[in-house]
């Protein structure tokens, strides 16, 4: 199994992110937010390079923390709770920071080789836009209600502070399947984000009878607070393909809004619909990705019933601007150290390894070797059973399979089963769960395999 390439959509938890914050998602689908049924704690640092055009979409350095915790299993369905939080240092709105949090309950089920998932999420986000004193920045953020006319007899207005509080609710569903070693994922999501923007305006009005051009010391300063509610609904589709070349894992993904409906107001006069993101990511052994961020699907967006075609046209020159980012993720599983799951994973793994808890060997019957050509030696039909309840795939290889990877089959009892024909003697076997590290099956005698790894030893006693 390469990696769970589905699960979260891009975690745009910051509510109405597209309108005020042009921080388009730059990570590939599935990179952030693990598709795992194991307990994980991940810390992720995001640093994106500039696109060279001064576009603010890449001006972000975030710290991301994610937790996954399995909570229940009902029949085929596994319920997992996920929580993530993001803290951003610099935000295009101003010099302030941004914090976002998202809680998700995800259900996954497996039907043969097909996986389906569904998730509901709720999150909150805040932008603390300490705008500062740049009048140009302030003007860029001002809406009509704040555009108090300038003039000798008028007022001089700046935005002294802007705070956005947003919340997002999302429902998503998808399908994940493996075809020819390629993990394909398709999904859709429906998301509603709202944001309340609070702007504090600093209005400076010249004192009556005093010309501010010549006597700026005498002014009356007032503060005015404006609140505005904005809402955005977006339907998003995703598609991804994960595959492996040698020891390197890759993920190609596309996230595109199918349709966007924006209810905006004067505080957000320049809406930014959710962009389309196409990404190529190298997941292991070193993680990095290249994302192309554009507005290809933006024409489907509407604002207050009107098309946003004209509104986004001016940004066409920045459509599909490349964003290169390198990330580092450290996953630690401090409360699960004895199940074979690595304590630390230095990679963008969205899955952790399942655990092989126990293995048992059952002899079924003896039969003549036949095909082996040796009539003096019987072969024994042997069933290998592995307890790996959290695993989604278990494979084995060994002497009996000519050291070819052989998938095991999940039984109705949840155990993993493989049937082998073994001749009397010693046979070596190793197993792995979810494409993880090969290991000697627990419960079997252990030997050294001359390549530095332990192997399980099965001894078959037959007549001579």
């Amino acid at each position: 199994m390469l990696l769970g390439s589905a699960g979260f959509l891009i975690p745009t938890v910051d509510g109405l992110v597209a309108q005020g914050r042009p921080d388009a998602p730059i990570a590939p689908v599935g990179i952030i937010g693990g598709v795992t049924d194991a307990a994980t704690l991940s810390v992720l640092g995001l640093a994106a390079a500039s696109d060279g055009q001064g576009a603010p979409l890449s001006a972000r350095n975030d710290l991301w923390i994610g937790i996954t915790q399995p909570v229940a299993r009902v029949g085929r369905v596994r319920l997992t709770a996920l929580a993530s939080g993001t803290a951003g240092g610099r935000d295009p709105v101003g010099r302030g920071g941004a914090m976002h949090g998202l809680a998700t309950l995800r259900a996954r089920a497996r039907f043969g080789n097909q996986h389906v998932w569904s998730a509901v999420s709720y999150g909150r986000g805040s932008l603390d836009g300490d705008v500062g004193t740049s009048p140009m920045d302030a003007m860029g953020l001002m809406g009509a209600s704040a555009a108090i006319p300038f003039g000798r007899a008028g007022a001089d207005t700046t935005i002294s502070r802007r705070v956005d509080l947003g919340q997002v609710g999302r429902a998503e569903a998808g399908l994940l399947t493996t075809q020819g070693g390629v993990v394909l994922a398709f999904g859709v999501a429906m998301e509603r984000a709202t944001r309340v923007t609070t702007q504090t305006l600093r209005i400076e009005t010249p004192e009556a009878g005093v010309d501010p051009m010549f006597d700026g010391a005498a002014r009356i300063v007032t503060n005015r607070t404006i609140r505005s509610l904005q809402r955005r609904d977006v339907a998003t589709g995703l598609a991804s393909a994960g595959f492996q070349t040698g020891a390197t894992q890759w993920l190609v993904s596309v996230t595109a809004p199918v349709a966007t409906w924006i209810s905006s107001d004067a505080l957000g006069p320049n809406p930014r619909p959710v962009p389309t993101v196409a990404s190529v990511a190298m997941v292991r052994p070193i993680t990095g990705w290249l994302s192309l961020v554009g507005a290809a699907a933006s024409n489907t967006a509407t604002m207050d019933g009107g098309s946003l075609r004209e509104a986004v046209r001016e940004r066409a020159d920045r459509a599909f601007s490349p964003v290169v980012a390198v990330g580092l993720r450290l996953s630690r599983l401090p409360w699960r150290t004895s199940d074979g799951t690595p304590n630390g994973i230095l990679a963008f793994e969205t899955r952790t390894l399942g655990a092989v808890d126990a293995m048992s060997v059952e002899a079924l019957s003896t039969e003549p070797a036949g095909a082996s050509g040796s009539s003096a030696v019987d072969t024994l039909r042997v069933v290998l059973l592995i307890d790996a309840p959290r695993a989604e795939s278990v494979e084995l290889m060994g002497d009996a399979t000519s050291w070819s990877v052989t998938p095991m089959r999940r039984t109705t009892s949840g155990r993993w089963r493989a049937e082998l024909k073994l001749s009397p003697g010693m046979h070596r076997v190793i197993v792995r769960a979810d494409g993880g590290k090969w290991t000697a099956p627990p419960g079997l005698p252990v030997g050294n395999d001359d390549y530095g790894e332990p192997v399980g030893l099965i001894q078959i006693r037959g007549r001579l």
Partner: protein, 237 residues
């Protein structure tokens, strides 16, 4: 068509069908003084580059001429390919394991089976000494030592020194069925994961409870030597 033509066609077809393709079989001549069966062993040469495959075939043929089993060597080569080991390492492992097989046959005697030689060579590679193999041969006649060899390999792998493993095996395994040995292995394996010294502790307890013939009528210990508790701390500590 005359009969001679049919015979020629038959021979041609047989020759073509026996021509080595991608998946070959290594011809292993029967050793004159060995009981080890030497059927053709499948060898998938396509997993290796041509030079490595040729070298491996030469090693297999040399081993067969010496009366050593070829299948364990083929398995080591295939395993190295599966583990994506370098060609140099695969060849080194196969050579070293062939030497271990030769040494194992010297220690266990020419009547040893392929399974015994494989298990004995694995034990030698794991650190089991020659004296232990000799003791196992004395304890188990030809063809019945695989379990004992696997058990002693496991004990050594889990940190039991080879002399102690030998003493335990001879104490509990002489004139006793293999199940007693497997009980020893299971007990040590279960306790070895609990911390340093626990493997030896379990070994000694198991030997004390099963060491004298007749103490358990040749059956495995009904309960683990060390139940689910930590060993009692000596007084004063």
């Amino acid at each position: 068509m005359p009969v001679a033509a049919w015979v020629i066609l038959w021979q041609l077809a047989a020759a073509v069908s026996q021509a080595p393709l991608a998946s070959e079989t290594v011809e292993t001549p029967q050793p004159p003084a060995s009981r080890v069966a030497q059927p053709p062993v499948p060898f998938d040469a396509t997993r290796f580059d041509s030079l490595t495959a040729t070298t491996l075939r030469g090693l297999f043929e040399d081993a067969a001429e010496m009366g050593l089993p070829v299948r364990p060597l083929v398995n080591r080569a295939l395993e190295g390919s599966a583990r994506r080991a370098s060609s140099e390492r695969i060849l080194r492992v196969v050579r070293e394991f062939a030497a271990a097989l030769y040494e194992a046959r010297q220690l266990l005697g020419p009547g040893s089976t392929e399974g015994e030689l494989d298990a004995a060579a694995t034990a030698l590679r794991a650190g089991v000494d020659e004296r232990t193999l000799g003791a196992i041969r004395d304890m188990r006649p030809a063809g019945t030592a695989v379990t004992a060899l696997v058990v002693v390999t496991d004990l050594v792998q889990r940190g039991v020194p080879a002399p102690q493993a030998r003493e335990a095996l001879t104490a509990v395994g002489r004139s006793r069925p293999d199940d007693v040995l497997l009980g020893l292995q299971a007990t040590v394996a279960k306790n070895a994961s609990r911390g340093p010294g626990m493997a030896m502790d379990a070994l000694q307890r198991y030997v004390r409870s099963n060491g004298t013939p007749g103490s358990s009528a040749g059956t495995p210990a009904p309960t683990p030597a060390t139940p689910d508790r930590k060993p009692a701390r000596p007084p004063g500590q």
